[in-house]
């Protein structure tokens, strides 16, 4: 029904404070786009511009074929869930849910029907309706906040870190609920978070933002498996990807005293950044390629796995440190043989940070 388009958005507060430099995105109906990035990357500002709470300095925002760049938030027909929930403390849950509808002069019968439907979806029972937000638990408040956005049946559905005020257990449950709700929505959903698990589980598309630019816009799988640059590679995934700047010799990169074969490149670089996720660094069997031996100097027990830091000796300088995620029952010796599977290695340009090999 409606597509959300952002065209070259820029927000300049002062010449030195430019949270959003140039962002273009398209979100189709039924798509869930997550804006993912560290704090200060501009993701919240983008969301607030879509909502109309900030006005872009340059660029355009379209909902369907309407240009809403300078339309008031109330006239855009967008709904938003706030990080703090922003429920009106002096109104009851019911009044909170229907405040927006009443302003739009929706007939009372329809208001009641919509509120009933949303309450059913969110499991808000009738007893809650007459309470004030202050009398609700954190989880209930969060659901009312989502409900207030849902009843609006808006053209665009926006969420600003809606789970960050919940405790860990509740967060997982609500995350699953949200996924179902999004699946039933037939509008563009834009979801802001700094939590990569939420981004991975909830979205159809992830836009990784940093420094006011979109670093990569892709499906969660590709963001994880084929990071477009060093920033995305380092930001997504926990524990963090090993990112090592290595000198090159011919078509080989030197990791300490060991050699890794470079992929086919147009020119042979003097240096590369090699990236590999700790979970892809595995114990080696004798005939594996890209074999590495190193001394274990730190074992961190993460429960399901052990994160093991290995010091790889280097004849030409400081030893190189590589981290590997291994099952807890792995042999624990002070020296380990590890293998780096070629298809799990990411190569980046040390200057630009861009991936050297673009995979389809």
């Amino acid at each position: 029904m409606s597509t959300l388009q952002l065209r070259h958005l820029n927000k300049t507060f002062t010449p030195k404070v430019v949270p959003v430099k140039d962002v273009s995105l398209t979100v189709e109906d039924g798509e869930v786009l997550t804006l993912l990035g560290p704090s200060g990357c501009g993701k919240s500002t983008v969301l607030r511009m879509i909502a109309g709470l900030e006005t872009p300095t340059r660029g355009q925002i379209l909902i369907g074929d309407r240009d809403v760049t300078f339309t008031r938030p109330g006239d855009r027909n967008v709904a938003m869930v706030f990080q703090s929930y922003a429920l009106y403390p002096h109104l009851t849950v019911y009044e909170n849910l229907c405040a927006g509808l009443r302003l739009k002069k929706v007939p009372q019968s329809e208001i009641e029907q919509r509120v009933a439907e949303v309450s059913r979806i969110l499991g808000l029972d009738q007893g809650l309706m007459t309470r004030k937000p202050g009398q609700l638990s954190g989880g209930q408040r969060q659901r009312v906040a989502v409900g207030r956005a849902l009843v609006r049946r808006s053209d665009v559905f926006l969420l600003d870190e809606p789970l960050s005020n919940l405790d860990a257990l509740l967060r997982e449950r609500v995350r699953a609920d949200l996924k179902q709700i999004f699946a039933a929505q037939n509008t563009p959903v834009v979801y802001v978070t700094h939590d990569q698990t939420e981004a991975m589980t909830l979205s159809t598309q992830v836009a990784v933002l940093n420094n006011g630019y979109v670093q990569q816009l892709d499906t969660p799988e590709r963001i994880y498996n084929q990071p477009a640059n060093q920033f995305v590679a380092g930001f997504v995934g926990s524990p963090q990807m090993n990112l090592l700047t290595l000198p090159c010799q011919g078509n080989q990169a030197l990791l300490g005293n060991f050699k890794l074969t470079l992929p086919d490149l147009p020119t042979l670089p003097a240096q590369v950044v090699m990236g590999i996720r700790p979970e892809h660094v595995q114990l080696a069997t004798a005939n594996d390629p890209n074999l590495i031996r190193g001394e274990v100097f730190l074992v961190e027990n993460l429960g399901m796995n052990h994160l093991i830091s290995v010091k790889v000796p280097n004849a030409n300088g400081e030893p190189v440190i590589l981290r590997s995620l291994l099952p807890p029952h792995s042999p624990s010796s002070s020296e380990l043989s590890l293998t780096l599977p070629s298809n799990a290695i990411h190569w980046f340009d040390p200057q630009s940070g861009d991936a050297l090999v673009k995979r389809p």
């Binding site: 607030r48 909502a51 109309g52 709470l53 008031r72 938030p73 109330g74 006239d75 967008v78 709904a79 938003m80 706030f82 990080q83 703090s84 929930y85 922003a86 429920l87 009106y88 403390p89 002096h90 405040a99 927006g100 302003l103 739009k104 207030r148 609006r152």
Partner: protein, 295 residues
């Protein structure tokens, strides 16, 4: 001074009362008693005077613990002049001034806190400056306005003036309250479709009700107590407010001053304020502090 061990936890919810009779504690107790006497004695003395028989009032040496009490002075007070009228006048002027001041001041404070209208810096600087203006500097100019607009003996003259002299504090206090309000609520209201004015009325003001009460109380007190403008703008006897009417009782001559009725008049004029202080002690302190800290 009195920086004993307890002074270090001024906010502990259940302070352990110090029971031991050390020298510090005795001195501290005396200090508390001294404060209470200092603040209450003059008022209590006046209350006592108002209930004493006239011959006891002018007895020498003074009678501190009278054995005879009378309501005569109060009866006289209300018989000789329309004192109920004065109470009513004061109430009317103070209440309308308070409402007007809040109605004008709260939106202005909100605008200054959130909407950044052109020239807000100058407006704020001006507001801070006029809090320091002695009223005497205004009286001649205001009297001219009152005469030109034929507002003499019209409460509108007092209401406008009281609104104005209370606006600075109202705006400063309300502005600091608005600034503390979480911005998300207003954003949510905008997304819900409220216009700025609708949002102010239906969301923001209900949330700042405590602040409205606080500033309202301060305005009411200041309006009830005001003397110089009431003295100047209202000459019609039945329209006078309590401070002016009471101050004029002493009329005829110093030596025949009706001390009893004067005392009764001060008691009647202060009772509403004493009640306000008893009920709204917390809000008054909060308002004074907020106003001064921001100012």
């Amino acid at each position: 001074m009195s920086l004993g061990s307890n002074a270090r936890q001024p906010r502990s919810p259940h302070p352990a009362p110090t029971r031991s009779l050390t020298l510090t504690n005795i001195l501290f107790g005396l200090a508390v008693v001294a404060i209470v006497i200092f603040c209450l004695a003059p008022v209590l003395w006046q209350v006592l005077t108002s209930f004493k028989l006239t011959e006891d009032i002018i007895a020498i040496p003074n009678i501190y613990f009278p054995t005879r009490f009378t309501f005569d002075h109060y009866i006289q007070l209300f018989q000789r002049q329309p004192f109920w009228r004065y109470v009513l006048n004061s109430t009317f002027v103070a209440v309308t001034s308070t409402i007007t001041c809040l109605a004008i001041g709260a939106p202005a404070a909100y605008a200054l806190a959130r909407l950044h209208p052109r020239g807000s810096h100058w407006i704020l600087a001006g507001i801070l400056l006029v809090t320091l203006f002695p009223y005497i500097l205004l009286i001649q100019g205001l009297l001219q306005i009152v005469q030109v607009l034929h507002l003499a003996n019209n409460y509108l003259a007092l209401i406008i003036t009281y609104t104005a002299i209370n606006l600075p504090l109202t705006i400063l206090v309300m502005r600091s309250f608005f600034a503390q309000l979480p911005k998300d609520l207003e954003d949510a209201a905008r997304v819900d479709g409220y216009t700025t004015v609708q949002m102010l009325i239906r969301i923001v003001l209900p949330l700042t009700l405590p602040a409205l009460v606080t500033t309202g109380i301060l305005t009411f007190i200041a309006s009830w107590n005001e003397y110089i403008f009431a003295l100047t703008f209202i000459t019609e006897d039945t329209m006078k407010t309590i401070p002016v009417a009471a101050a004029q009782i002493s009329g005829s001559s110093t030596y025949e001053a009706p001390y009893g009725p004067i005392a009764a008049a001060t008691v009647v004029g202060t009772i509403p304020l004493i009640l306000l202080v008893l009920i709204f002690q917390r809000q008054i302190i909060q308002g004074l502090t907020a106003g001064a800290v921001k100012g």
